[in-house]
């Protein structure tokens, strides 16, 4: 993981959304840029940008405001570490159904996770984080604090700004608080591990499983240089029985060694870990479709990279082996050609790599123009995370 080149000049740590909005407004008035930071575990994502004038930390917004056990909802301030929130929910037999890698010291905050729309294996069953965030409080550069959504899981009142803020990388304002929908933790879990060496067979087997009405919690592929596996995790009081059904399907799909693993957490830890690179490494997220996954795995093979993929979704994380910047740049360019038209977003990579190529890749001009119009309305002076996002937004 890389970090920005130099420290910012001023650090602010607001204790409320109003304070955050005040800091943004003051910076906007001066034409200053503000870098928003949670636990800084994904600080190296996006464009490499000049040092910001102000660094705004959400560390002071660290309250679990509500955990409504009976309603399966919670209200969290942005700086709450996701792991801590999960611990709280877990004590009541519940979970927030998002499980991205949590970065160094498992420090990732809910705010940073929402801002980057990060995800993990549970995305298969529970959709993306955008689908679990039911309300948002955001500090805007005009000094206002805006709320959208609410804290009920069904609600169509007003515009869905929570979705707009999710994945916006803090470029429209500072997410100060979110309301989220929770799910019951499955009573039991079990995983089918089905090893195989052919990328095409692995992708097709995962698709065959996704086609059937089995409702796995997660459906992943792990692949590196001829060694791979389909992993399907089931939950509920009959998790093992459900996994048994999947074993038969995966065997039929050409993975004869499919077997049930009951003590399965380490398998999934490994999948999550595959989504991040250590210092100097590089990870590229390819947004594809289940149909195109075989080709994405083959592209990883050609580059000697490891691939972690969501079999029923089509998204894959390609981790390049350690190498110099020039090799990384060449590999990423080759990957983009091989997986086209699937967008390939560079996540972790050394600054030199992200400076040499656009980490976001090219987006359709008409769509980018509309994104710029949104940016101009919310953040006309480009105060928030200036230059970090797609097309240099």
């Amino acid at each position: 993981m890389s970090s920005s080149k130099q420290a910012s000049r001023e650090l602010v740590k607001p204790a409320s959304a109003e304070e955050a909005a005040g800091a943004l407004q003051a910076a906007a008035a001066e034409g200053h840029s503000v870098r928003v930071i949670g636990a800084a575990t994904k600080r190296g994502w996006g464009h490499v940008v000049p040092k910001a004038d102000v660094e705004l930390s959400t560390a002071g917004l660290d309250a679990i405001v509500e955990h409504n056990v009976g309603d399966l909802t919670a209200v969290l301030q942005a700086g709450v570490p996701l792991a801590l929130a999960q611990e709280t929910f877990g004590a009541a037999g519940q979970m927030l159904s998002v499980d991205p890698p949590l970065g160094a010291g498992a420090a990732a905050t809910i705010g940073g996770t929402v801002a980057t729309a990060d995800s993990g294996p549970l995305r298969h069953r529970f959709h993306a984080l955008r689908d679990l965030v039911i309300g948002v409080t955001v500090a805007l550069p005009d000094g206002s604090v805006a709320r959208a959504g609410g804290k009920v899981i069904k609600n169509v009142a007003g515009y869905d700004l929570a979705k707009l803020m999710t994945g916006a990388f803090g470029t429209l304002g500072v997410i100060c608080q979110v309301s989220v929908r929770l799910h019951p933790r499955p009573a039991d879990m079990a995983t089918v591990h089905a090893p195989g060496s052919d990328p095409g067979v692995l992708a097709a087997a995962a698709a065959a499983l996704a086609y059937r009405p089995l409702e796995p919690l997660a459906l992943d592929i792990d692949y590196q240089r001829g060694n791979g596996a389909v992993l399907a995790r089931f939950g509920g009081v009959t998790a093992v029985a459900q996994a048994g059904g999947a074993v038969a399907i995966l065997r039929e799909a050409g993975l004869p060694d499919a077997a049930i693993v009951e003590d399965d957490e380490s398998l999934w830890q490994r999948q999550r870990k595959g989504q991040r690179a250590a210092d100097g490494g590089a990870v590229i997220r390819v947004a594809g479709t289940p149909r195109r996954l075989g080709a994405v795995l083959q592209a990883a093979e050609a580059l000697g990279a490891r691939a972690v993929a969501r079999g029923g979704i089509g998204t894959a994380w390609i981790k390049l082996p350690a190498a110099g910047s020039a090799e990384h740049i060449a590999a990423i360019e080759e990957l983009r050609v091989r997986v086209a038209p699937s967008p390939a977003t560079v996540l972790d990579a050394p600054d030199a790599v992200r400076e040499a190529l656009d980490p976001w890749g090219a987006l359709a001009p008409a769509t980018v123009a509309l994104m710029r119009r949104v940016k101009e309305r919310f953040d006309p002076a480009a105060t928030c995370n200036r230059g970090l996002f797609v097309d240099g937004i």
């Binding site: 805006a146 009920v152 069904k154 169509v156 009142a157 515009y159 799910h183 019951p184 479709t289 149909r291």
Partner: protein, 485 residues
């Protein structure tokens, strides 16, 4: 003005074809309301374009002429979202009803906006289905579902329209065609797709829609339990949720609605029951079987005096007919009724029902209660006699009191019907000035001229104004020769 309108109509005819531009009063009357008949407005023109290109040309023509327009699907909406602007243009998408692509490997369907909700499930069945299932699914269009972010009975487990739409081709209010989202998930950039779904036709009009479909569950088990009171049934719901179950649907009906529905669906449900709880488990056979036993036990413990399981698909269909007939059936026990849609945190169910009872007594009107109990989405049916002087107004006032009570309990003014014109007056109860101003920023980014479905959603009309002078980097700064201090 008149001449400008004549020019616009000529342009619309060129865009959509002579036959598909309606200007005669008798033809226009069909479009003067949507499913909420209280509101009526007469458009000057209705166009029925047959392609995205025709929609784009029509919208561009309106943009040039500065004439507001309203997109309309099947017209079954219940918040007046498709109410025309007086003397404006209505763009009806009913001719665009082709399913363009079905891909069950990727689990996607691409279709035009006029396709009905049910037609999507029919196109991918029996192996797959499209989960959001509004009660009007036989007639309502997917384009309208996108505009309203429609829900249905199965959203407690499966989610809403917004969770299933992955790509939209949209004509923006200036007539430009853009794609939001894509056939891939997890795309970089702002989630404009998420902002568009549920925006009630105020950000543009969708001309092509890609949705995800999912495998049909292996097993479905439907049961109904009868309780003395809605309070008791509510306790059962809490116990079900606390036990970690996520049923496909949890629906509740009170005595008044059971009685009304029984006249239409003839399910043989006890008319003296205070509440019926309809619970549907779906998923793997093993999991359903295991949960069914727990579910029966929970209902018994909560005081159910009778629990019936649907023995076959036919019986299951009758159970659901009881639930889905509740709105129309109310017409048999009351000359008129007003359908309300609001949400509470589910644990506040008993409180809100008591409050509704109190209000009903206070207003001297009957209120039937039907709701999606899993997600706390209430549909109180306020009964009245429109011929009795002042009663319609009292009913509307009572319905409003119920909405405000829900907001006080931490809920929402609408769970699935939308704001439209009907609920916009309640927006300030839920959102402050800064919140509304942020909504307006989004709206202005898409529609700076305010031509797409104006007068909807926001409580008071607003103009967009210029973008406040964007920060521009000075050339010297860019060259690294100067810095702002």
């Amino acid at each position: 003005m008149q001449a400008a309108m004549t020019d616009l109509i000529a342009e619309l005819r060129a865009a959509c074809g002579e036959r598909h531009v309606l200007t005669e009063h008798d033809d226009l009357r069909t479009y003067e309301s949507d499913g909420l008949l209280q509101y009526v407005a007469m458009p000057r023109v209705v166009v029925l374009p047959g392609s995205a290109d025709a929609v784009a040309r029509a919208v561009r023509a309106c943009h040039r002429a500065g004439v507001p327009w309203v997109a309309r699907g099947a017209g079954s909406g219940l918040s007046g979202g498709a109410l025309p602007v007086e003397d404006g243009v209505v763009i009806a998408l009913t001719r665009m009803r082709r399913i363009l692509e079905v891909d069950l490997v990727d689990g996607r369907v691409v279709c035009e906006p006029g396709v009905t909700n049910l037609a999507i499930s029919q196109a991918v069945g029996p192996s797959h289905f499209y989960p959001p299932d509004p009660s009007s699914q036989v007639v309502c269009s997917i384009g309208g579902n996108v505009a309203e972010n429609s829900g249905g009975a199965h959203c407690f487990k499966y989610g809403f329209t917004t969770n299933y739409v992955i790509a939209l081709e949209v004509v923006l209010p200036d007539g430009e065609l853009v794609t939001l989202g894509g056939e891939e998930l997890d795309l970089p950039g702002y989630d404009l797709l998420g902002a568009f779904v549920g925006s009630e036709g105020t950000l543009g009009v969708a001309t092509k829609i890609t949705v995800r479909v999912v495998p049909t569950p292996e097993s479905v088990r439907t049961l109904v339990a009868f309780f003395d009171s809605t309070g008791r049934a509510g306790e059962a719901v809490s116990a079900i949720v606390s036990a970690g179950m996520v049923p496909g649907a949890i629906e509740m009906m009170d005595q008044l609605s059971i009685g009304a529905s029984e006249q239409m669906a003839h399910a043989g449900w006890p008319l003296d029951a205070g509440a019926a709880l309809l619970v549907e488990l779906d998923g793997s056979e093993a999991e359903c079987d295991a949960q069914l036993a727990d579910l029966r036990r929970i209902c018994d413990e909560a005081g159910a005096h009778d629990v019936r399981e649907a023995g076959d698909d036919a019986e299951r269909a009758i159970f659901w007919k009881m639930r889905k007939a509740a709105f129309p059936a109310m017409g048999r026990v009351s000359p008129h009724y007003y359908v309300q849609d609001s949400v509470i945190p589910r644990t506040r169910l008993t409180e809100v029902l008591e409050r509704i009872d109190e209000l009903a007594r206070e207003y001297g009107l009957r209120v039937g209660n039907v709701f999606h109990a899993g997600d706390g989405n209430l549909h109180p049916l306020v009964c009245y006699d429109g011929n009795a002087p002042g009663e319609a107004e009292r009913a509307e006032e009572l319905a409003g009191e119920i909405v405000l009570a829900c907001v006080e309990l931490g809920g929402s003014i609408t769970g699935e019907h939308g704001i439209g014109v009907d609920k916009k007056r309640y927006m300030p109860a839920m959102f402050g000035e800064d919140d509304l101003a942020a909504f307006q920023k989004l709206r202005c980014a898409f529609d700076p001229d305010g031509l797409a479905n104006p007068g909807k959603v926001m409580p008071t009309p607003r103009l967009c104004g210029e973008v406040p002078g964007p920060y521009r980097e000075h050339p010297l700064e860019k060259a690294g020769l100067a810095e702002r201090m």
